[in-house]
């Protein structure tokens, strides 16, 4: 085995020493030194690759196509008065739901479990673009006013076997998590508190469930009232 062949193997797989390479190393201090250097580098690589990731940078390394902030009107051409009416129905509906309470413990616990698993979502502060938020909400039957809400986290998450939008919205009451659970049905509002989170499940006008979770023990009626006007259900 030549020095070049030995160094190729060492550099490619530093920790792997077959019989031929071992024989070469036994008689070659230069290649042995090269191996020690590569092993040290590999330890650093392992450390580096397991280190925490940098947060989302303000500047993107990779330039993805960005949709202009002025969003086109929905193709449906829904009259503005109808959208406003739908918004009012949602607000009133949320209030009425407060009085029609029938809990579903597994769903509430599942939501809390999911939010706890993605606890990093609360600490995101960089606003998502309207395009990114729309992408996550597409198909969920709901939109958020981009001008009036700051969304700092928007993901499509696997929940109870379905992919659901999971957003964190900055409100005057602090960050609030929204999950639009189209496949889940609750007969009425359910409130819950656990592990430093407060939440409500409310039936949404599209027949699914809206989960709203906040940190601490805020008045969830206030939270819902703060969110309600910015949520619009698409018929």
């Amino acid at each position: 085995m030549t020095h070049e062949e030995a160094r190729l193997l060492i550099g490619a797989v530093p920790g792997e020493v077959g019989p031929t390479l071992a024989e070469h190393l036994a008689g070659c201090p230069e290649c042995t030194q090269f191996q020690q250097q590569m092993l040290r580098m590999n330890r650093d690589l392992t450390r580096l690759f397991s280190a925490p990731l940098p947060p989302r940078a303000a500047i993107r390394v990779v330039a993805l196509p960005v949709v202009a902030s002025a969003r086109p009107k929905p193709a449906s051409g829904l009259p503005r008065w109808l959208a406003l009416a739908a918004s009012m129905v949602v607000s009133i509906g949320l209030g009425v739901m407060f009085w029609t309470l029938r809990p579903q413990p597994s769903l509430a616990a599942g939501v809390l479990d999911h939010v706890a698993q993605e606890s990093g979502s609360w600490s995101e502060v960089a606003p998502m673009t309207a395009a990114a938020t729309d992408k996550v909400l597409s198909g969920a039957g709901v939109t958020l006013d981009p001008a009036d809400t700051t969304v700092t986290y928007a993901r499509i998450c696997l929940f109870n076997g379905h992919w659901v939008p999971h957003l964190v919205v900055r409100t005057a009451r602090g960050p609030v998590t929204l999950m639009v659970l189209r496949q889940e049905h609750v007969p009425g509002r359910q409130s819950f508190r656990q592990n430093g989170y407060s939440g409500v499940l409310v039936p949404d006008p599209a027949g699914g469930t809206l989960a709203v979770i906040a940190q601490g023990d805020p008045n969830m009626d206030d939270v819902l009232r703060a969110l309600g006007p910015h949520l619009h259900w698409i018929p």
Binding site: E4, R7, L8, L9, G11, A12, V13, P14, F34, Q37, M38, R40, M41, N42, D44, L45, T46, R47, L48, F49, S50, A51, P52, L53, P54, P55, R56, A57, A58, I59, R60, V61, V62, A63, L64, P65, L101, R102, P103, Q104, P105, S106, A108, A109, G110, L112, D113, R155, I156, L158, F159, N160, G161, W163, Q190, S191, F192, R193, Q194, N195
Partner: protein, 191 residues
């Protein structure tokens, strides 16, 4: 399903689902438990947190759709890492991603990390600046735990070509340690 009065805290133990849904729930939890590692893997491929999150998102969607093809849950990690790698490659091809001002970004990110030694900071920067053809096999090997044969199959290269690329990747990183790179003039074996 047990009903409880409103405003009563719900114990997390109530997340137990009906037995018939057990497989799906177990897979969902498995996916969730692997997500941080998938995100780390994707970050080192894409070198950008937001892109990495998008890649993992798409990969998990894709994996979920084809979950029936995962026969052995023990193989889930490698299976998902492979899907992430392919999703990243697909995104790269689709968008023709442009690298912009990489040094500035890495410097900004390093200032946020703050705790790494100067050498590790240099190593991080050097890895992110490696050409794709060297960085991808290195990340697959060290972070993903793939063997050279597995990398060769996945990247449709010969094993010899993968060995050469891995050697060249590490050889370029030697500068970070103040070492001269070894002669690197060998031709890459045919794919």
């Amino acid at each position: 399903m047990r009903n409880i009065p409103p405003e009563v805290p719900v114990p997390l133990s109530d997340t137990v689902k009906p037995a018939g849904d057990g497989g799906t729930m177990a897979l969902e939890r498995l996916f969730a438990s692997l997500r941080p590692e998938l995100l780390r893997f994707a970050w080192w491929l894409a070198r950008d947190r937001a892109v990495a999150e998008d890649v993992v998102q798409e990969a998990l969607l894709r994996a979920w759709r084809s979950r029936d093809s995962l026969k052995d849950p023990a193989a889930a990690r490698g299976w998902l890492l492979t899907i992430v790698r392919r999703e990243h490659a697909r995104l790269y091809e689709r968008k023709r991603l442009e690298i912009t001002d990489l040094d500035e970004v890495i410097a900004a990110e390093d200032s946020q990390l703050g705790t790494e030694s100067e050498e590790l900071v240099g190593l991080r920067l050097a890895i992110t600046q490696l050409p794709e053809e060297y960085r991808v096999p290195l990340v697959m090997q060290v972070l993903g735990g793939f063997t050279t044969d597995e990398i060769a199959r996945e990247l449709t290269l010969s094993t010899a070509a993968v060995l050469t690329r891995l050697f060249r990747a590490r050889n370029r990183l030697r500068r970070i340690y103040g070492l001269m790179p070894a002669p690197d003039g060998m031709d890459e074996p045919a794919v």
